[in-house]
């Protein structure tokens, strides 16, 4: 079997980076993989979980494994957009003349950790919109590009809702994945205790540079996808829309708004990274199934009935995917047709 050297390099880098993160983070293998997938797909990742599960540590460790600049912003209600983007300040030059000079904010970094992003006001949250989508910010009429690769990793706490500002849909849609960090199992908890309560320093090696990440991002886009697999992705996304003619019953009953085209892009791009990281040169239907929940769960807005009945969006998406798979003939023999 002939292996493309770039693919070999990607797989090795991916696995090495995962290994470095796992030096610090116990368990959460799937979360780590999805964070890496999101980064290589060129998207941003929102991590949601209760405090103390290692969300911030995970991101900091990832940043340490990459030879990239890293900024951390603790979002609070009094945080202003200028605190993130930066602002023009008056400075004196050598001749004593005063002029405006742009003082860049923490957004000007390769990796931005927006910790507890839902604690900031919507005005401040929206300061990230342009940067996350356009990879540039505009201050004082001047648009300034962000360093590439630019990667936002945000965290939010789902239980302390008092004094928080839920992210607007437009902001949520800009995140490639939304990952739910679950509580560790007991074995993982034991490992966490052993690893963090002993006198042992863990050094994280830098595995990857910025240009390497960008190169891998280009490689990811070369991964071919078969027509029927692409059709399945479209069907899954369309099936989240209650207005769609072939939408399943659960969608019509519990969903108010379905996923945007960004959801389909996230699904296919994530599937490509997952396929390549798995050593495959093509996207399979299984890749789509595995990434449907992280790519769509924050893009599906439940209606009143769904909220009132406490519908779990992940379960809903699982049913939607099953329906789409059955509708496209992926899961059953159709040779008699």
């Amino acid at each position: 079997m002939t292996q493309d050297p770039r693919v070999e390099q990607f797989i090795a880098s991916f696995q090495a980076l995962r290994g470095e993160v796992e030096k610090v983070i116990v368990g959460h293998r799937e979360i780590i993989d999805h964070v890496l997938i999101g980064m290589f797909a060129g998207g941003h990742v929102l991590l949601e979980g209760v405090p103390g599960l290692g969300k911030t540590l995970l991101i900091k460790t990832l940043a340490e494994g990459l030879e990239l600049s890293f900024s951390r912003v603790q979002f609070t209600p009094d945080l202003m957009p200028a605190d993130i983007i930066g602002t023009n300040i008056i400075v004196d030059d050598d001749q004593g003349r005063k002029h405006f000079q742009f003082q860049s904010g923490p957004i000007f970094a390769h990796i931005l950790l927006a910790d507890e992003i839902n604690r900031a006001t919507p005005k401040t949250q929206s300061a990230l919109l342009e940067g996350m989508q356009e990879f540039s910010v505009t201050v004082g009429g001047v648009s300034r590009p962000l360093p590439a690769p630019f990667f936002v990793l945000a965290t939010q706490n789902p239980i302390e809702m008092e004094g928080t500002y839920p992210l607007p849909e437009a902001q949520l849609d800009r995140f490639l994945f939304k990952l739910r960090v679950r509580y560790p199992a007991i074995e993982e908890l034991n490992a966490i205790i052993d690893r963090t309560t002993q006198v042992r320093t863990v050094a994280v090696d830098r595995i990857m540079t910025g240009p390497a990440v960008l190169g891998f991002r280009d490689l990811i886009r070369e991964v071919p996808i078969a027509t029927h697999v692409r059709d399945l992705a479209s069907s899954i996304v369309m099936a989240t829309h209650p207005q769609w003619g072939q939408a399943p019953e659960v969608t019509r009953r519990f969903v108010r708004y379905g996923a945007s085209p960004r959801g389909a892009q996230a699904l296919v791009l994530g599937a490509k990274v997952r396929a390549l990281a798995d050593g495959r040169y093509n996207v399979s239907a299984d890749d789509l199934k595995q990434l449907a929940a992280p790519a769509l769960r924050h893009r599906v807005i439940l209606n009143f009935e769904g909220e009132a009945e406490g519908i779990d969006v992940d379960t809903l998406i699982e049913q939607i995917v099953d329906t789409a798979v059955a509708a496209t003939g992926q899961g059953k023999e159709q040779f008699v047709r």
Partner: protein, 481 residues
């Protein structure tokens, strides 16, 4: 970039598997419907003879072969076959993606790697049957028509039910055809009829003249039977044909002398026959009794008395002795006594069928008590006699009113009364309670209400359906008056 042989080979293999599975699927369906079709000729084995079995086999085989051919010839998409192989061999869509992208212009280096990777994995695949067998619904009930066809094939031919479509042609057409001798060749006509061709002549073919020549009694009996024949109407469904051909009964009515005595036919009894003969004792216009006829009558009464032990044998013997002694009057009295006893026995035999029971019997018994043993006038009326005006023996030309009338205070009657005046007239007065009532309703005023009540009663189905027409006819008759 051409597809590697390994990929195409796998796709061909899967395609072949799909074809055979389809052939099985559609073959079973064809076999089922062929078996169903084969039942048809087997049911008509009596008609088709040996061809039935051959036809059934041909249909069965043709159904199965047609199904197999459909399955084999139906197109299998290479893309579908590749996807089936991907799923069956765990290739994670490598084969289908490689086949699709290998022909694209915009393929990248990764596509080449993909094709190479897919080829390597396909070559390592152990070929096996990967297409599941999907049995059609017909396969579950396939044994039913097959077994039925086998049973029909092995069993003796089934006789066909002797049914035919209703004949909508008019009777006239059929008769014309019969007269033309349709379907009968000259040779058939010339050939003497065989035994099985002899059929009982239908009603229309009876020769009445010939029957009539055999004797009056026989004629009367036959004609009575003919008048009872209700199936005659079914033989003439077409009224025009009925008019054209005519009904023998109508023809018979034209021959007054041959009309059967229906009354005696249906109601004759020993007493009535004897009574009739007793009336014929007087010969001609003279009021003398023929001793010879009286003797014959007494002998017949004696014979009847022996049969039925009616108790009039003693009277008959007295009559015979008186007749031998030349006392005709005494013989007549004895005969009358015997007749009375015979009538009493006849009444007793009629029992509940007697229309004149109850009060009528009481009335008669009371009258008999007052008038002694009565005479022939007080007995049952003979033929042509009775209580109808002009028929009885009353001195009044219109006869006397029934004794029943005014027997009950609730009876209402109508009396005629001549009115003398400038212009003579005739009034009709009501009698009974109705005649004493102060208020009267005019006929025209109440008939409408009664008719409405009648229609309501009919609509509520309180009246048996068979009586509806009769009731309406009655009210229609009232309207006409």
């Amino acid at each position: 970039m051409a597809h590697p042989d390994a990929l195409d080979r796998l796709v061909r293999e899967i395609t072949t598997q799909v074809r055979w599975r389809r052939a099985e699927h559609y073959g079973l369906r064809g076999l089922f419907w062929g078996a169903v079709a084969a039942i048809g000729p087997l049911l008509f084995r009596l008609v088709l003879g040996p061809w039935a079995l051959a036809l059934a086999v041909v249909l069965l085989t043709a159904g199965a072969v047609a199904g197999v051919l459909v399955g084999l010839l139906k197109r299998v998409s290479p893309e579908d076959a590749a996807r089936l192989a991907d799923r069956a061999f765990g290739l994670a869509d490598r084969l289908s993606t490689a086949l699709e992208w290998a022909d694209r212009e915009e393929r990248t280096r990764l596509v080449d790697s993909l094709v190479a990777d897919a080829t390597a994995r396909v070559e390592s695949v152990q070929l096996r049957q990967v297409v599941r067998r999907i049995l059609p619904r017909e396969a579950r009930i396939l044994p039913v028509p097959v077994v039925l066809a086998l049973v029909l094939a092995l069993a003796p031919p089934m006789p066909l039910p002797a049914v035919s479509l209703p004949d909508f042609s008019s009777s006239a057409q059929k008769e014309e055809a019969r007269e033309r001798g349709d379907g009968v060749t000259l040779e058939d006509r010339a050939r003497p009829l065989t035994k099985d061709k002899i059929q009982k002549p239908v009603f229309e073919e009876r020769d009445w003249n010939q029957k009539g020549a055999t004797g009056a009694a026989a004629t009367a009996g036959d004609l009575s039977a003919i008048f009872k024949d209700t199936s005659l109407a079914n033989q003439r469904p077409d009224f025009n044909s009925f008019l054209k051909k005519g009904d023998e009964r109508l023809k018979m009515l034209e021959q007054m002398d041959r009309i059967p005595d229906l009354q005696s036919d249906f109601t004759s009894s020993q007493y009535k026959m004897v009574f009739k003969k007793s009336k014929e004792l007087k010969t001609g216009l003279r009021d003398t009794v023929s001793p010879q006829k009286l003797k014959e009558l007494l002998e017949e009464m004696e014979r009847l008395g022996r049969k039925s032990s009616g108790g009039w044998g003693q009277d008959v013997n007295e009559g015979m002795e008186a007749l031998e002694g030349g006392n005709t009057d005494r013989a007549m009295d004895a005969m009358q006594k015997a007749l009375d006893k015979m009538r009493a026995q006849d009444e007793a035999q009629r029992g509940g069928k007697n229309l004149r029971g109850g009060r009528e019997a009481d009335r008669r018994s009371g009258r008999e008590g007052g008038r002694g043993d009565g005479g022939p006038d007080d007995q049952d009326f003979g033929e042509g006699e009775g209580s109808m005006p002009g028929k009885g023996k009353s001195g009044s030309p219109k006869g006397e009113a029934s004794q029943r009338l005014r027997g009950n205070p609730y009876d209402v009657g109508v009396e005629g009364e001549s009115r003398r005046g400038k212009k003579d007239g005739f009034d009709t007065n009501m009698t009974g309670r109705a005649g004493k009532m102060n208020s009267r309703l005019s006929y025209m005023g109440v008939i409408g209400q009664y008719k409405k009540a009648m229609e309501d009663a009919i609509s509520r189905e309180q009246i048996p359906r068979d009586f509806h027409g009769q009731i309406r006819d009655y009210f229609q008759a009232l309207d006409e008056r």
